[in-house]
């Protein structure tokens, strides 16, 4: 322990107590409450019937749930690498003190302050084939509009594009902050060795950004596995459920179909997925570290 040891017990609890109490009441308790409900056939209005693992058995046999899991993975795999590469490039290009760089940093960050409903409002009227910006621009050249929000092959990419557009700000800032942490003398040493810019990037910059890179990938993966608002508002999960991510399915199960127990079971599976995937990422990272 670092601190002076004069603190009495009650002082310690006085400082951590308020948070811990709220935390237990609003996170830990509902977590166990949810696990308990997931063993029941339960509706939204308080009716319960204990069924053991039946809800989980149904989930593993439910093709719609499988489809939702696949859609969620597709979205995550489209969004996270794209976002990581673009924001890393942006940070590299904009890591300088010029006025232009400052303005551009502002431009690329600006979308992050919009809330999800405004994001979807804007993007609906960029993408929709009858009134959208893209359709109107294509129209100038006499081309047919593209049905981004209803074509089974286009809805998932459309959601990914809107999400990337929306999410550039934070990872870019994290990368910029990481770049600022790299001591200048490493670059000077590299320059003395006449290393090319390419070599400098691979040998100096990227390894130094390793921590930030991992942070960005893990944060974004966890966030995109839980994607909801964009899908609900832009495509309603359509066409025919092709763009329905897990969280939208959970919402529909609970409030559309009133199957609360089943919905919570799906939420628990999502919880495990997020946990396992982040743990795997962490494990992969620490293993490569050990290799060095």
């Amino acid at each position: 322990m670092i601190g002076p040891r004069s603190g009495s017990t009650w002082q310690g609890y006085a400082f951590v107590g308020p948070f811990v109490a709220l935390y237990c009441f609003l996170l830990i308790y509902p977590l166990f409450m949810g696990i308990e409900i997931s063993f029941n056939r339960a509706d939204l209005f308080g009716n319960r019937e204990f069924v053991g693992l039946e809800n989980y058995r149904r989930l593993f046999a439910d093709p719609i749930f499988h489809q939702a899991v696949a859609t969620t993975f597709k979205l995550t795999l489209l969004i996270v690498p794209t976002l990581t590469v673009i924001t890393l490039l942006l940070a590299l290009a904009l890591n300088r003190a010029t006025r232009t760089a400052g303005v551009l940093r502002g431009v690329f960050f600006s979308s992050s302050v919009l809330s999800v409903t405004i994001l979807t409002l804007i993007w609906r009227f960029v993408l929709t084939p009858d009134a959208g910006l893209i359709a109107k621009l294509l129209g100038v050249f006499g081309w047919e509009p593209i049905p981004f929000l209803s074509d089974p092959d286009l809805t998932v990419p459309a959601l990914a594009i809107a999400t990337v557009w929306w999410s550039l700000g934070l990872p870019m800032m994290l990368f910029l902050a990481g770049l600022q942490q790299i001591p200048g003398d490493i670059y000077e040493a590299a320059a003395l060795d006449r290393a090319s810019r390419w070599t400098t990037f691979w040998k100096v910059t990227l390894p130094s950004l390793r921590g930030v890179l991992i942070l960005v990938i893990m944060l974004q993966t966890a966030a995109q596995l839980q994607i909801f608002g964009q899908a609900q508002l832009l495509t309603s999960g359509g066409p025919s459920g092709r763009s329905r991510p897990i969280v939208l399915y959970i919402y529909e199960l609970a409030f559309g179909r009133w199957e609360l127990g089943y919905a919570i079971a799906a939420a628990e599976v999502l919880f495990l997925l997020v946990l396992v995937i982040t743990a795997l990422q962490y494990w992969a990272v620490s293993r490569t570290k050990a290799d060095r």
Binding site: I2, Y13, F15, F19, R96, V113, L233, A254
Partner: protein
């Protein structure tokens, strides 16, 4: 931002400008649509490319719509949540970093487990819990879930640990109480961390959608995210595209203004997360 060759290379600049255009075009399109009369857009939304422009949609928002109210609700909820998170996490962070008490490690470990629990895992039971407590459709009901921020506690604990203990000892020698020490000596030193945590919490709360969607039950408690959701899903029957887009612009302006005014501080605050 000082490193890097001073000029952006021409190739990179072209790429950046194309990127910037993609960032800005949807926003400009939204603005143009919001400045057109609805009947004109009804025939063809391409009308937005050319004048005449009008402010009638904005008049309509101010005259008779709940958008200003939703904006206020979003501000109250986001600011309240942010203040609450800063207070709770600072107290807890200090306690975990500096004080000795039974089960300290156990409690800290318990809190860190929370980092791995996604909101989706608890939102439905929490909804049932709040119903039993009669907390729905109220500001406390909207704010409370946001106060559970294990990341905030982790972050503040780390920050307090990084402050030299000698400061505490000097202050204690001067006879300062534990709380005075926390409040007068250490807390001011954590301002950069407070800013970082504050910006993240505010943005997170501002963007929250699912919880207010199911917790706010009357329109005068809707936050912006929920209020604007219902009108866009049946926009065919709305007053029209222009009005809808004016809502979007109107609702974004305050936060964009704050962002432009405090850009430097926000950027610095966000960068704080990566440094630790």
């Amino acid at each position: 931002m000082s490193r890097g060759r001073d000029r952006i290379s021409p190739v990179a600049l072209v790429g950046l400008l194309i990127g910037a255009a993609i960032m800005v075009a949807p926003l400009v399109w939204t603005l143009l649509l919001s400045l057109k009369s609805n009947s004109e857009l009804m025939r063809d939304s391409a009308a937005a490319f050319s004048p005449p422009y009008t402010l009638e949609n904005y008049h309509a928002i101010l005259a008779a719509s709940l958008v200003p109210r939703w904006l206020l609700n979003s501000l109250i909820v986001s600011l309240g949540t942010t203040a609450g998170v800063l207070i709770l996490c600072s107290l807890a962070g200090y306690g975990f970093a500096r004080l000795q008490f039974p089960f300290r490690r156990t409690l800290l470990a318990l809190v860190l487990i929370g980092l791995a629990i996604p909101e989706q895992a608890v939102i439905l039971p929490r909804h049932q819990l709040f119903a039993q407590l009669g907390l729905h459709n109220s500001y406390p009901g909207l704010m409370l879930p946001g106060l559970v921020a294990p990341f905030g506690v982790f972050f503040m604990t780390q920050y307090f640990r990084a402050i030299p203990v000698e400061l505490d000892e000097a202050a204690m020698l001067d006879g300062a109480s534990r709380f005075t020490l926390f409040w007068k000596v250490l807390l001011p030193l954590t301002l950069p961390a407070q800013a970082t945590l504050g910006v993240f919490t505010f943005l997170g709360s501002w963007n929250d959608y699912w919880w207010p969607l199911i917790s706010a039950t009357t329109s005068d408690r809707f936050t912006l995210t929920v209020g604007l959701a219902s009108s866009q899903m049946n926009y065919a029957q709305t007053s029209g595209l222009g009005f809808l887009m004016a809502q979007a612009v109107f609702a974004s302006i305050p936060i964009l203004v704050v962002y432009v005014l405090f850009q430097k501080q926000i950027v610095r605050a966000m960068a704080g997360a990566a440094v630790r």
